[in-house]
């Protein structure tokens, strides 16, 4: 009984670890986890699709998170999301076909006084607007092309 408990305890942690390594949860890894922990694939799949941080598809090289917490919403976060969708020509939760950019909305990164906030590859951009976002994106596109 005790052993089963330990197994259960670490399932989410195991998925977090996989995602940290690969950037997403590849399907074959999910199968491995199911075998390793002695649970059904459906169980692992259920957990992986339930929680917000898990992704089943790879991210773009530049990962853009637009904060949609309450403070960011009031300060116009939605306009920034719309600008991002327009500029990148993808919807929230998608990755561009060339795998360069991916877009995600997150619920509060905890810097409400800097709202609205965009996080690009872990760098926080405070007080965004559609225009500022476009400018920052141009910078990233140029960097991409150089490299």
């Amino acid at each position: 009984m005790r052993e089963k408990e330990e197994v259960e305890l670490t399932l989410i942690q195991a998925l977090i670890n996989i995602q940290e390594r690969f950037g997403y949860l590849p399907e074959d890894k999910l199968k491995e986890v199911a075998t390793r922990f002695g649970v059904g694939e459906a169980h692992v799949w259920g957990v992986a699709t339930f929680y917000n941080i898990f992704r089943l598809k790879p991210l773009g090289k530049t990962h853009i998170k637009v904060c949609m917490g309450t403070a960011c919403h009031l300060a116009g976060g939605k306009l920034v999301v719309e600008a991002a969708e327009r500029e990148l020509r993808i919807k929230v939760g998608e990755t561009t076909e060339d795998l360069r950019f991916s877009l995600e909305r997150v619920a509060c990164v905890g810097c409400c006084m800097l709202a609205p906030v965009v996080v690009i590859n872990e760098k926080v951009y405070p007080r965004m607007s559609p225009l500022k976002f476009e400018e920052i994106l141009i910078g990233y596109r140029e960097d991409e092309e150089k490299s």
């Binding site: 989410i12 942690q13 977090i16 929680y51 949609m68 600008a83 810097c111």
Partner: protein
């Protein structure tokens, strides 16, 4: 080591620190976003270049988030000075001025840092401290969160030491006498919860610290974990000893990487000096702590949902009873408390129940912590005695609205809370008063709205959030919230009727009745409170197709006033992302409404001396404006 030995060593460290000039820089998540790490590395480089050797300490959040990055220079024999909004340019000036010289650089200072007779820090020059009472936050922003000696030197683990000399029963009595109630939102008396768990018949018990702070707009748990993690661990050990649990779990969202790192580090430190693990400071009691990463689901904050998450399943709440105190984690009796609740415990053990129950109101004891965000001058974090009025918090502490605007309402407690209008700001904050207004204490996030914010749109925003976060177990929550959201969308599009508003209220009540856990039960609160206090605004949307705050996209349009347009300037035309603005050079610019995506860029870029771009609602109004032009 005995506790006396540990304490001696800690005091030696603190004495040594206090006898030399030292610099403390706030590097919590919010400080980092404001550029604290750049300031830190610049300080490091400059000090090295000048050959100055002193303690440069990374501390947590002091609550004055509007002034980040925050730097404090402690100088023996001189005033300790706090500097706000420190930018890389001022680093050299501060070192030359106050580290090397005796010029406190007052033009960059927020004020001096003083400590009151209870040891809580305050800045006399900043008004908000007159209204605050710092219990949980008394060390935040002062203590080095990554150094257990600093914590102990400032009185840390004193409460644990005292508790371990008492019997578990005595501790529970003490907590009961203090009147402490759960700070997770519902306000259940903590002592009774502990007693229930301790009484449950089992060999194995668990303690869980709920650090799954999911409310979008609240961050006090994160601040405590990042700024004073040992306080939480101390509370957990005392709770474990009191209820007879040898294992503790702290569940932190993976979205809080810094908090995770801090708590893991603190755990290691506490283990190394024998405060955690086998035989806690020689008492014979053993306590192991496990740090569990959460994967992001709002419903995990519900206690039975959180238990499911630790067990590695989807965090679907369970039916209560049985309560976790009887049958919780792995079906064993489990005590589950919020970060703040547990953090009060060491203070109560150190200072006694009476001192705690002397703070606050007759039914709500102690202090309350709120995050202040939205349209106020001084966003941040505050700790006030229970019973402080909303007015004091809004105007004295948060500084009121920005730039000559007016505060319209406060949304308290996020998606589970309610929207309270300005004319009720005389209400004191305590569990019962907030409930009577249809809101709740909730997590303690306060979002301030001014006249530019639409309450209908905000209610829709929260519904959208809970609808996405509903785990799907209860039909009323799963389908009810999605239907509510749909109705709100219809309203904000101006396609609803007055009849729909009645239905909206009815369905909101049904969702509340038909849901199992707190998420579903409180999900309709934002809708119900806004209907109650801002019915007029709903009516404007429905009957006039007008959004009074000019927010709801489908009901507004942008318009360039030809007389005000400079004509020669092309800012709006060049920055429009969809090329919806026409008009030759020298001619007034004109917005092609069919192309306009209403992003507001033209309004932002129109130079302030013209202010030619306006928003109008209802869209019908455009006709009049256009006619006038011709």
């Amino acid at each position: 080591m005995t506790f006396e030995e540990i304490k001696n060593q800690a005091q030696k460290y603190v004495e040594e620190l206090n006898s030399t000039t030292n610099i403390r820089i706030g590097t919590p998540t919010c400080g980092r976003a404001a550029g604290a790490l750049e300031v830190l590395s610049l300080f490091r480089r400059e000090l090295e270049k000048r050959g100055i050797n002193l303690h440069l300490i990374e501390v947590g959040c002091f609550g004055l988030c509007y002034a980040e990055p925050l730097v404090t220079i402690f100088k023996p024999g001189f005033f300790n000075v706090v500097y706000g909004n420190v930018d890389p340019e001022s680093v050299g000036r501060l070192i030359e001025g106050y580290v090397e010289g005796d010029d406190p650089c007052l033009e960059l200072a927020l004020g001096t840092l003083e400590f009151n007779e209870e040891g809580a820090p305050y800045i006399p020059e900043v008004t908000r401290f007159e209204f605050e009472k710092r219990v949980l936050l008394r060390r935040c922003g002062i203590v080095d969160p990554a150094n257990v000696w600093h914590y102990i030197g400032m009185g840390g683990y004193e409460g644990l030491n005292r508790a371990l000399k008492m019997s578990p029963k005595e501790i529970i009595e003490e907590i009961k006498r203090s009147g402490l109630r759960g700070r997770g939102g519902a306000g259940f008396p903590t002592g009774i919860k502990w007693e229930e768990c301790a009484k449950a018949d089992s060999q194995v018990r668990y303690v869980i610290c709920n650090a799954d702070e999911g409310d979008p707009g609240a961050f006090m748990d994160r601040v405590i974990l990042e700024s004073d993690p040992h306080q939480v661990i101390e509370g957990m050990i005392i709770a474990g000893y009191a209820v007879g649990a040898k294992e503790g779990f702290i569940y932190i969202r993976a979205e809080y990487p810094l908090a995770l790192r801090m708590i893991k580090h603190a755990k290691k430190e506490a283990e190394e000096i024998g405060i955690l693990g086998e035989n806690v400071i020689g008492s014979g009691f053993s306590f192991n702590l496990h740090v569990v990463e959460g994967a992001g689901a709002f419903v995990s904050g519900e206690e039975t949902g959180l238990i499911s998450a630790i067990e590695g399943r989807r965090s679907e709440p369970r039916v209560r009873p049985p309560y976790p105190a009887h049958k919780g984690l792995f079906d064993k009796p489990t005590l589950i408390n919020n970060v703040k609740t547990l953090s009060y415990v060491p203070w109560i053990m150190e200072n006694g129940a009476e001192k705690f129950s002397n703070i606050g109101t007759s039914k709500s004891k102690g202090t309350a912590i709120f995050t202040l965000a939205g349209k106020v001058k001084y966003p941040g974090l505050t700790e006030v005695p229970m019973g402080t009025t909303l007015k004091t918090i809004a105007y004295e502490i948060a500084g009121g609205a920005k730039e000559g605007k007016k505060i319209k309402a406060i949304q308290i407690g996020g998606p589970s809370g309610g929207c309270i209008p300005e004319d009720l700001f005389h209400t004191p904050v305590d569990y019962e008063s907030l409930l009577s207004l249809g809101s709740m204490m909730g997590s303690g996030g306060m979002i301030f709205m001014d006249e530019d914010d639409c309450v209908v749109d905000t209610a829709k925003f929260f519904l959208d959030f809970v609808q996405k976060e509903s785990c799907g177990k209860c039909t009323m929550c799963r389908l009810g919230t999605s239907q509510l959201l749909h109705m709100m969308e219809v309203i904000t599009k101006g396609e609803a009727t007055k009849e729909d508003l009645k239905l909206l209220k009815e369905l909101a009540e049904d969702v509340r009745m038909g849901s199992l856990c707190g998420l579903g039960k409180s999900a309709p609160n934002p809708v119900l409170t806004t209907l109650r206090y801002f019915y007029e605004e709903y009516l404007s949307h429905v009957e006039e197709k007008r959004c009074p705050a000019l927010v709801c996209k489908d009901l507004i349009a942008y318009f360039i006033i030809p007389e005000k347009c400079d004509r020669a300037c092309e800012h709006c035309k060049l920055s429009c992302p969809v090329e919806a603005i026409t008009g030759e050079k020298g001619q007034p610019k004109y917005i092609v409404q069919d192309k306009c995506v209403k992003c507001g860029t033209c309004m932002k870029v129109c130079p302030p001396e013209f202010r030619a771009v306006i928003k109008v609602s209802p869209i019908e109004k455009l006709k009049d404006l256009d006619l006038r032009k011709e």
